[in-house]
Symmetry: C2
Subunit: 135 residues, 2 copies
DNA sequence: GTCCTTGCAAAGCTTTTGCATCGCT
DNA sequence: AGCGATGCAAAAGCTTTGCAAGGAC
């Protein structure tokens, strides 16, 4: 696993340093996590790292296409590993839970809408804010 | 028109003060505008106001349902009057232009997707990032 | 007159940056 | 050894808040 991790980093042109490996592990264990949460979690597990480093590494990962950054409820951004399987998210307004989903009908429609307005679709962000049915 | 404006504010439980009226006018003349832009525009037109007041008023307007707040490209938030006609946005990555659109197929699909996962759809945000077809 | 609003300055929060030190390779 | 990476602290950028002064009703 560390081999694979190192390889991923190398391919991205990044040295395989401990902070980067630790952060990558953190991302593998938490589908959606913020810079601060990664920082706190690492500190609590006795791995000293700087918050600035976490931000810097996450930005590098984002530029390398290793992670995707989301700004769901404004304040803190959350990051998730990019497994190249595109999906959107719904956020439960009660619990904060995040559910992933993918819908081809919507995806297709988005392309058509962009085209209809004389644009080509480059990217999109879609978040559904939901509540449990029985609440 | 000032009558209508005053009435709107009164109905929202807000006193009809000059800053609030000016900001409301600003919103009527600019579909999507940031707090800072409102502030700068007012100052340039010789109406002295505090940036904090602009933020405070916009927040009050948002809570009163008079405006909708968007966080398109992360940094500055932009506000738009809430005419109760729901729509989503596409943002041109080259020009920054914002185009509004509405699509019933997507809206319906979103409801279905939420339901399928055991949730009810409360709200959503969808932004298409696009570029001109010939670029 | 009372209570809400405003303006200013200061503080808050997330994220970024400068710089000396450290550590991959 | 060399150059990129890290940590700390300071700064930046957007937004909020405390407080005394001002304005609406």
């Amino acid at each position: 696993m560390t081999n694979k991790t190192n390889k991923n980093l190398k391919e991205a042109g990044l040295r395989a340093t401990l902070p980067r490996i630790k952060i990558l592990e953190m991302l593998e264990n938490h589908k959606h996590i913020s810079a601060e949460d990664i920082y706190r979690d690492l500190i609590e597990n006795r791995y000293d790292v700087g918050l600035a480093t976490v931000y810097r590494v996450l930005t590098q990962f984002e530029n390398a296409g290793i992670v995707i950054k989301h700004s769901f409820e404004s304040s803190k951004a959350v990051y998730e590993l990019n497994n190249s399987d595109h999906h959107d998210h719904m956020v439960c307004l009660d619990s904060g839970d995040i559910v992933e989903f993918h819908d081809d009908i919507i995806e297709t429609r988005q392309e058509e809408i962009a085209k209809k307005h004389g644009f080509k679709l480059i990217d999109h962000s879609m978040v559904l804010y939901v509540k449990k049915t029985n609440s």
